[in-house]
Symmetry: C2
Subunit: 526 residues, 2 copies
């Protein structure tokens, strides 16, 4: 049996592990032929040692060197786009053209190029200079970063090509990628290109490494390793919390993106004004990619009454007439089934769906549930458990005061949206609800569904626990996302020629933004 090798210390090694696994085509439930290894601890340890050696060699490098790698890698990915799309489509069932080729691949390449530009520019490191005290500080690489990628974005959040990878590298850190088991061939293709780009741009071996899979205990050991700087994890809550406990205990930063139901509040004036358009917009957002988005709108709060009932009917019709896409895998289907069952057990009624769909793939009918505001407030924890997939729960609230209570009862979420009348007629209700919602979400939207996550310096793809592990950081947005993978380094009365270029009096690039004596400037100090 042919098992693909792992990428450790710049070499594609046959794994020393005895176990292997294969991916499954979600549209046919057929096992895919290629086999990939489960790495044993000694193999993981070798990767960590190689990453630490790479970090030693590169930690003082100028950002331009990491930028060159990221640029070259982006170009290589474009050159292999057709194969990547084919592999990812086979492994995830996500639409090849509209989603993978036309949206996610360009986004991924764009992220890498934005990260390259930020690495080159250097302003991400926030250099601060106090000339009177001769104290200077900046962010610097934190050390080898482990990236655990999720199942739902085989490109844009891939452990060896996605947002965390780009951010960690742009901050100057080697990456040990732990691929998601559902799309190993996609990940392998990326790793081949990353490795080639690393050679072409003369990064040391061990800067970019790939493990396909580890057992849980070894994953916990990895994130807590003395030589690891930090970890980025995107995925299921339970596995993420196990890694968090291990990393926290060892005092190692870990950034998690765990789960989120992304509440949407629709106020009466918006319903009166544009119900049909809202129903279109909501159904498109909720069913896109079979609902498998971190920012999928899984909870909709509406004002009980005839208008909301009519709106709900419009959405139900759209859910029933929309095609059903295959889910990413059997585990996603099982979790969605369990999730819907437990929402129903907590008092939600199914208006449509709530059962497996016909066909050969891992399909679940588009599902719409409903519950009263009273019931939601009686068991808020049970009714905001995430049912990841093409499913949403409508809450019919008595009035804006109850909407406010619902906002107060929310756990931490990535996003929260409020739709209101364009005329201003809902402004009083908005003022009642928004301040509560604001505290429980990382990104507040107006009249917009949460599923688009622009790669903007102002973006926050983050939020209070349990959406993430820390409400001060974002996983999307350059340069903010880079700052997760950095340590603060201060130089107190250090002789000028020993300072890193970013902290010397002369601006090293002529364009780097630095805070000098309380003012942001692209100029020189002193």
């Amino acid at each position: 049996m042919n098992v693909h090798p792992v990428l450790i210390n710049g070499v594609w090694n046959v794994s020393t592990g005895a176990q292997s696994f294969h991916a499954v085509n979600p549209q046919t439930r057929a096992a895919l032929a290629r086999r990939f290894p489960v790495s044993p601890w000694e193999e993981i340890e070798r990767a960590v040692q190689a990453a630490a050696r790479a970090a030693e060699l590169t930690r003082d490098w100028p950002g331009a060197r990491f930028a060159r790698f990221l640029e070259r890698y982006a170009t290589r990915i474009e050159g292999r786009a057709a194969e990547l799309v084919a592999a990812a489509h086979e492994e995830t069932a996500l639409p090849a053209e509209g989603r993978l080729a036309k949206a996610e691949l360009p986004r991924t390449v764009n992220q890498l190029r934005q990260a390259a530009a930020a690495a080159l520019d250097g302003s991400w490191a926030n250099p601060v200079i106090d000339t009177a005290a001769n104290i200077r500080s900046m962010l610097a690489p934190i050390g080898p970063v482990c990236v655990f990628g999720p199942n739902n974005f085989p490109f844009a959040f891939n452990s060896i090509a996605g947002g965390d990878f780009a951010a960690a590298v742009a901050a100057g850190n080697p990456v040990i990628a732990k691929g998601h088991s559902s799309h190993p061939e996609t990940t392998r293709l990326f790793a081949v290109e990353a490795d080639a780009a690393a050679r072409e741009t003369e990064l040391p071996p061990g800067f970019v490494q790939l493990l396909y899979r580890t057992d849980h205990a070894d994953g916990e050991r990895l994130v807590a390793h003395r030589l690891i700087g930090a970890t980025g994890y995107t995925g299921a809550r339970e596995a993420g919390l196990r890694l968090k406990a291990a990393a926290d205990h060892a005092g190692k930063p870990i950034y998690l993106e765990l789960s989120s139901i992304n509440p949407v509040f629709v106020l009466p004036g918006a319903l009166a004004e544009r119900s049909a358009a809202l129903a279109d917009e909501f159904a498109a957002s909720c069913l896109m990619g079979a609902g498998q988005f971190c920012t999928n709108p899984g909870l909709v709060v509406v004002p009980a009454g005839a208008a909301a009932e009519a709106f709900f009917e419009l959405v139900r019709n759209r859910f029933e007439s929309a095609p059903v896409a295959a889910l990413l895998g059997e585990g996603v289907l099982r979790n969605l089934e369990r999730g819907v069952e437990s929402l129903r057990a907590a008092g939600a009624e199914a208006a449509t769906g709530a059962a497996a769909a016909a066909g050969s793939g891992y399909c679940y009918r588009n599902t719409l549930l409903r519950v009263s505001g009273e019931r939601f407030l009686a068991v808020p924890a049970a009714l905001q458990a995430e049912a990841f997939g093409n499913c949403s729960l409508f809450v019919f609230a008595r009035d804006s005061a109850q909407m406010r209570q619902i906002a107060q009862a929310l756990e931490g979420n990535l996003t929260g949206a409020i739709y209101s009348a364009t005329t201003g007629g809902d402004d009083a209700a908005y003022a009642e609800i928004a301040p509560e919602l604001r505290q429980h979400v990382g990104r507040l939207l107006n009249d917009k569904m949460p599923t688009g996550v622009a790669v903007s310096p102002a973006m926050n793809h983050g939020g209070p626990f349990p959406a993430t592990g820390h409400p001060g950081f974002t996983a999307v947005g350059i340069p903010a996302a880079q700052r997760r993978f950095a340590m603060l380094q201060c130089y107190d009365s250090v002789r000028p020629h020993r300072l890193p270029p970013a902290l010397q009096n002369q601006n090293p690039t002529g364009t780097m933004w630095r805070q000098i004596d309380g003012r942001w400037t692209q100029g020189h100090a002193g």
Copy 2:
């Protein structure tokens, strides 16, 4: 028996707890008469509820309101300086004039005023505006902050007057202060003034609250409370790690400053050039405040040989002739005794001290230990355990290569210093050692002892675990210290009149620094 009341929800309440405690005069070991309560859980819960209500009321307030409070409070502290100094001197034995009145009180008041200026200015919140995408984000209050103060800075790190308090309030958060049990009367005096200043400047009740003591289990419950935003803790490692585990499990940010031995490397050229001056400088830094500084130089690495032996003798003479000051309390004395014993058990030899000192107070002889580089590298963990107090360990390293290995073997520390020849003769050794030391410390110093911690925007009073819990944050330095107590809030397509002033197109103050479309500016957007 008269037990002092606690400050909860704007009222000085008699504690409902049955237990109480008293402080001890460290110079006489005599119990002080005043008694202070141990707060039971229901009392703590009331404080949390009151803080949450205060947070709801104040979270959208302009920074000017918090600035007014901080300014007023600073002025009130100055008005009560004599009483504060007398109380702190009695409770801590720190020198009344030179330390408390002339150094620590002015520093405390200065910190509060810097925090006030930062709150008023608003730039600390890092507003970022992307006008093309209409996405805007900034840091905002995280919610009620618990502050656990340490024993060694009764003013500058006091739970209700020190750096964490100032930073949390300047970021717009209510504070629940948990005073240190060794100086409750000092803390009470601060709380009286904080409460008065809060009333004068119309902060809501519950914004500033004080508990003197809780049991360990309740402390863990407090930092993990659903309504708590974050915690700042400065103190002993063991207690801090218990709180960290509880907060981490609940997904609540906790910032810890735990322990640090602050290694100092002295290179051959510096020894040859200025041994006597270095001995003066080192002894003054190490014995100041009986060595009870977070940044006390507890480890000195020298190149083995005649010059280092002569230097060691100079230091030993200074340690023997310097007066012995009382330690902060019985616990500090016991820990220092145990710490020195365990360093000796690991192979360190005592050159002087290493025993309790005569007299009525909690005094320990100024203690100097020594060990070879080989031995240090054989048991690095045991030989870098903190012995908090007037004690330091010299490591005699074979050569600069061994100095480098010692730097590599260090745990995370707040600071690391390197002394080298002014002529540049040590530059090769510096280049060998500094990159390793750099990774293990928050602040790297040249030719300077670490005990001075300037309140500068460029300061880093932080470092890798176990010095702190996260290497990206600093506990000293405005505005960086404020950012620990904030969540990132993003506004995506939010209507202009609903945005917080800092994110509207018009610059709300005309001087606030904002990043608009990639450029830092004090101007308007759009």
